[in-house]
């Protein structure tokens, strides 16, 4: 893949906004990859956690915003527990979800959640799921 780096993309105001919302300083990540190794859902992510960090460092915000990574992260904080730089990729991914949700772009519709799940699942799953997927 050929990537063209531009000053404009790296200074993308949306990425600065992400840093403010998530409370994480993206440039602290030095790409050791321990987050991707420890993350239990790396296999299901279109862009794995460590690459999310790299993409954001070099301004590839569009790719990150389109990838499913933020929606399959459950926030188990294994990435943060293993990070030698104390970066929480989980916070960055929640920040990305929030960038969508704060514009009213919901990931799920309540009506689409299967009724047996709503009836039988622990309430905590439903409350948590709606907080993560619905604005």
């Amino acid at each position: 893949m050929k990537i063209k780096l531009t000053k404009g993309a790296i200074e993308n105001p949306l990425i600065r906004q992400l840093e403010r919302v998530s409370g994480e300083e993206l440039k602290r990540c030095y790409q050791c990859g321990k987050c991707s190794a420890g993350c239990p859902v790396t296999f299901a992510m279109e862009i794995p956690p460590s690459q999310i960090m790299r993409f954001l460092q070099i301004g590839m915000m569009d790719d990150v915003m389109k990838a499913n990574s933020m929606w399959v992260c459950v926030g188990c904080l294994q990435c943060y527990a293993r990070c030698p730089q104390s970066v929480s990729v989980a916070n960055v991914l929640e920040g990305l979800r929030q960038l969508h949700l704060r514009k009213g772009e919901d990931r799920e519709q309540i009506k689409d959640v299967p009724f047996p799940f709503l009836k039988n699942a622990p309430q905590q799953a439903i409350v948590c799921g709606f907080r993560k997927f619905v604005s």
Binding site: C76, Q78, S88, N91, L93, E94, P122, A125, V127
Partner: protein
């Protein structure tokens, strides 16, 4: 002795067996889990974006209400424990956020409540040696794997209940109850949590790894502290069994059910009938129940 207790949304309903077994077990070692008078849902998720203060208002309200009548608050559910303890840490250490949240929910809470998990009460207040001395029906010969999941342990600096990579609290409790504690390498991995709502395949894969790894290490039963872990693992059993040759399923129980059993409670009061995968045939085979 009365210990103020916060049940949260799930323990009064879907995970009733978790609550009843804990309450009965507490009584048989000399204290009462007394449900706090007025409470609301904790929100079931601690916001990972630090500017999302609105999500802290529900747990802060619980904490403030509990502080009016006591100095500590105990939980059973790992998620409640995580949300309440982390919110408490914000209320204690962040003066600006504390002022905003207190202003919003009209309280003056200062973070001075001591939020604990029932496991900590057993380990630090009662002591596992005293729990061991109270055992009437040791779980001899039972190979039980503790499954911690994520919310009980992480992030370490806020939770601090045990080592985040190599916890021992549940293994030590199981050993005190007479069981053989099995350490499985996947015991601190996530079960998939709320993805059960939208992406069952991921939950089945993660839960399957956790369960088959426990079985491979010799476990006959998995012990958990979280209603959502319990649900995800149990619900995934049949699909994991059909995908994994030689895997026949494993009962998933709450640590309080094993505690109650060892302390001599009637097995019918411990909510084993509410679990999808019945642990009683195994316990009968082991001679732990009749």
């Amino acid at each position: 002795m009365k210990i103020p207790y916060y049940p949260g949304c799930t323990l009064n309903t879907v995970a009733k067996g978790f609550e009843t077994s804990a309450k009965e077990a507490a009584l048989s070692i000399g204290f009462e889990l007394a449900e706090m008078p007025a409470w609301n849902c904790c929100g079931a998720t601690f916001p990972l974006t630090p500017d999302n203060l609105i999500a802290l208002s529900a747990p802060a309200k619980v904490l403030s209400s509990a502080r009016k009548t006591g100095e500590s608050l105990t939980t059973l559910c790992s998620v409640c424990y995580n949300v309440l303890k982390r919110t408490n840490s914000v209320m204690k250490n962040d003066r600006e956020k504390r002022a905003v949240i207190n202003g919003f929910i009209e309280t003056d809470y200062d973070g001075s409540l001591n939020v604990t998990h029932f496991l900590e009460i057993l380990r630090d207040n009662i002591g596992f040696d005293k729990v061991k001395a109270a055992v009437k029906q040791p779980l001899t010969g039972l190979k039980a794997a503790a499954y911690y999941g994520c919310m009980l342990l992480r992030p370490f600096e806020d939770m601090g209940i045990d080592d985040a990579e190599d916890p021992v609290v549940m293994e030590n409790l199981l050993a005190a109850l007479g069981a053989e504690a099995i350490k499985s390498p996947n015991r601190i991995e996530c079960c998939g949590a709320h993805l059960a709502m939208t992406n069952e395949d991921i939950v089945v894969k993660l839960s399957g790894t956790i369960m088959t790894s426990a079985v491979r290490n010799g476990a006959e039963l998995i012990v958990t502290t979280c209603p959502l872990c319990q649900y995800n693992l149990e619900k995934s059993q049949s699909r994991v069994a059909s995908d994994t040759p030689g895997y026949a399923g494993i009962p998933i129980v709450y640590f309080t059910q094993m505690l109650g059993l060892a302390l001599g409670q009637d097995v019918d009061t411990l909510g084993f009938d509410k679990n999808i995968w019945d642990a009683r045939p195994l316990l009968r085979k082991k001679g732990i129940i009749k």
